[in-house]
Amino acid sequence: MSRLLELTDRGLYCAAGDFYVDPWRPVGWAVITHAHSDHARAGSRSYLTAERGVEILRQRVGDEATIQGVPFGEAVMHNGVRVSLHPAGHILGSAQVRVEHQGEVWVVSGDYKTIPDRTCDAFEPVRCHVFITESTFGLPIYRWRANEELVDEVNDWWRTNQERGRTSVVLAYALGKAQRVLSGLDSSIGPLLMHGAVERFVPLYRAAGIELPECCRATTENARETRGRAMVVAPPSAAGTPWLRKFGDVSLAFASGWMQIRGTRRRRAVDRGFAISDHADWDGLLSAIDATGAQEIVVTHGYRSTLVRWLSEHGKRARALATAFEGEMDEVVGNDGGMGNAE
């Protein structure tokens, strides 16, 4: 009856080891998959996260927090439970959490994607008995195009805007997506500027050895100088704010998996939508689940019931993990159009 990981009102809890994974309230020992705000909350006594993600997590939970970084694949024993972290391919330092106790192995995927991304370590399938997977894009309408195609599309859009004398502004989640977009931009096209919220994480990426093109924080002066030529990377919250005015005539784009759907694109009232996602698409979810060889799949965060039904019809034992306090939080996230969410 007792399960290795169970959902409590503070988040996923391991009773055997007395620790939480991505707790949403302060706890004693928190294992953090990645530093997006819906997974990493401040106030816990101590944190365990991937070594590659320590500095980013510090930005989130504060300088005073006790954070232990562990290299990918290296195990830590905690109250007799063996915990190790493995790359999830979501953002820099993002990890899946492997929990082993008395021969039983569970893996919590956190957020993940299976396609290559040069700004973080590639997703690594981990064999386990029980796999707790996200399902943000758990519908077959969500299938991403190849990264190179998307990168070319963004650069082409930038060139077209230049021809029309317009500044390009791409909205992307400030941590992860923004740096990924940045890494694909061809700086020979024109000057690159970024919002302060994006800039904040750039040195951490560079320090981790990730190459990003030369890019300055946007100021009134450099914005004016580069009007009609520059590419600006900004967080989604910059849309519709006076901050955008300094760039003159802009063309606005949004980089998010939700942009796959025309209706969402139009609802966001942006000129362009790029379906660039840091989550696994439908095929990615299915292949990742297969690769774990898990006997039981627990689906959370997204189109849970769809994926559970699909897996069940395909001979897998699957169940949904209720996200306790938000009702159908999953769909709300889905309908947010990637607005404030870590997508």
Binding site: L139, P140, I141, I261, R262, G263, E328, E331, N335, D336
Partner: protein, 574 residues
Amino acid sequence: MQLFARLFTDLDTTTRTVEKVQALERYFAAAPSRDAVWALYFLTGRRIKRAVNTRLLRDWLSAETGLPLWIIDESYDAGGDLAETLALLLPDHSADSTAASTDRTITAPGMLFSQEEMLEGYAGLQQAAEADQSADVSMPLHRLVEERIVPLTDLPVEAQRILVTRTWHQLDAAERFLWHKLIMGEFRVGVAHTLVARALANVAGVPPETMAHRLMGDWTPTAEDYQRLLSPSSWASDPGQPYPFFLAHPLAGDPQELGEVDEWQAEWKWDGIRAQLLRREDQVVLWSRGEDLLTDRFPEIAAVGAALPNGVVVDGEILAWRDERPLPFAALQTRIGRKNLSAAVLAAAPAMFMAYDLLELEGTDLRASTLIERRAKLEVLAAHLPAGLAVRLSPLVELPSWEALVELRRTARDRGVEGIMLKRRSSAYGVGRPKGEWWKWKVDPLTIDAVLIYAQPGHGRRASLYTDYTFGVWHEGELVPVAKAYSGLTDAEIRQVDAFIRRNTLARHGPVRIVRPELVFELHFEAIQPSTRHRSGVAVRFPRMNHWRQDKKPEEADTLATLRALAASLERGK
């Protein structure tokens, strides 16, 4: 097809008029006439009737992709647009090699070829089969429409399936989306007809008004007609061709800002069907603003046309009319849907043409002359008509001062009109809806406070959000549905309400969620009348959300008794 798909994407990804016109010009300049004329056909809102049953489309897609129907339906719920959802669900053949897609055809269900032999007389299938063999995957728009979409509707289901499946293999994702839209009779693109006319006019080298006028006429999607539309010289217009309608802007501010009161002419704003009545070469034609030919639906008005001299075009409003008062719009609606106009229908909703303006007299286009000149001629024309015809001259409203007008507007609802029209006396009869010449100043809407009780997901731009709401008011301790509304909230409010709905769903019936009755909205609507068709006993016209009353509790919402009293009082006022 690729050019057309490109045009669609260009139009779909910009909100800027200039860019839309440029994209259209690029397209019309580059596309062959036979294709361009079909593009024009669809861009000007003409449609081909739904050619396939969408249930069948889902079945075929399920067979093609191996996806069960339930996941197709869930995808549709999330995507909010069936044409797009189906396009996204299909595997990306264009990324495969041609060899791979040929393989796919060969491994298709074994029945395919024998079925095909049975149907071998059908050209579209043969062409589809030929195209399967060739490496060229792009198909001209006109062939797609003429050989695959137009004939589709009359084919046996199995032949439809073969044709649709084959076509999937020959199109890329963007093209498939449009293919679906076209066979479902749902193609729409966010571009005003005036912009299409402007772009085409630029390509042809004629004034935009000329092109708008030509497009209103009778043309078919053939290369010949396209060439005729594009001809740089003027051409004899066909007798059934109306003029583009000149439209008014809603007046948001104070009328005093319009300047001197004596520069303006005021009329009532009638709530009917805007139309042009044409009399040329002994023919009578009645065109609605929606470009529907209504001559047969309104014999009373056709009789008015027959009494006019040749070479006349009158702009006006079709109204259901009795005892010198308009009947509610619903009465007029009973006339539109019917092919057979029985004596009872004609008697229940007698129609009348309220004449506003004279656009053509003695075969001469009067649109460039001033409103007062046109009005004077219209009055002379009306005076020469025999008595007893179903026509009235739109009465001018005395306009001594702006203050007086404000008072008059208050009486509008009692008069059965929607508000007041303000037209600059010196105005020409233009094209489209330019600002500053004609204004419509509607009466303040009626309001009620009602509770959100059911919600459904929206479509298109509102895909996968709960945006279509049903509202209830209190009656004997229960909330009775009285109105459906889906407009009026900001995007931020929509997201909040959507989140509320998801967390407070009491039950589901298909796509409809029964919601915990907690949110109160102030609804606006234009009219309310007793109705036997609605459970509540009242029907409201043009309901929309004006305001989310976060300050109100559901108990404070209005009651059905209040609504019924309102309906009855307005009814009595008539």
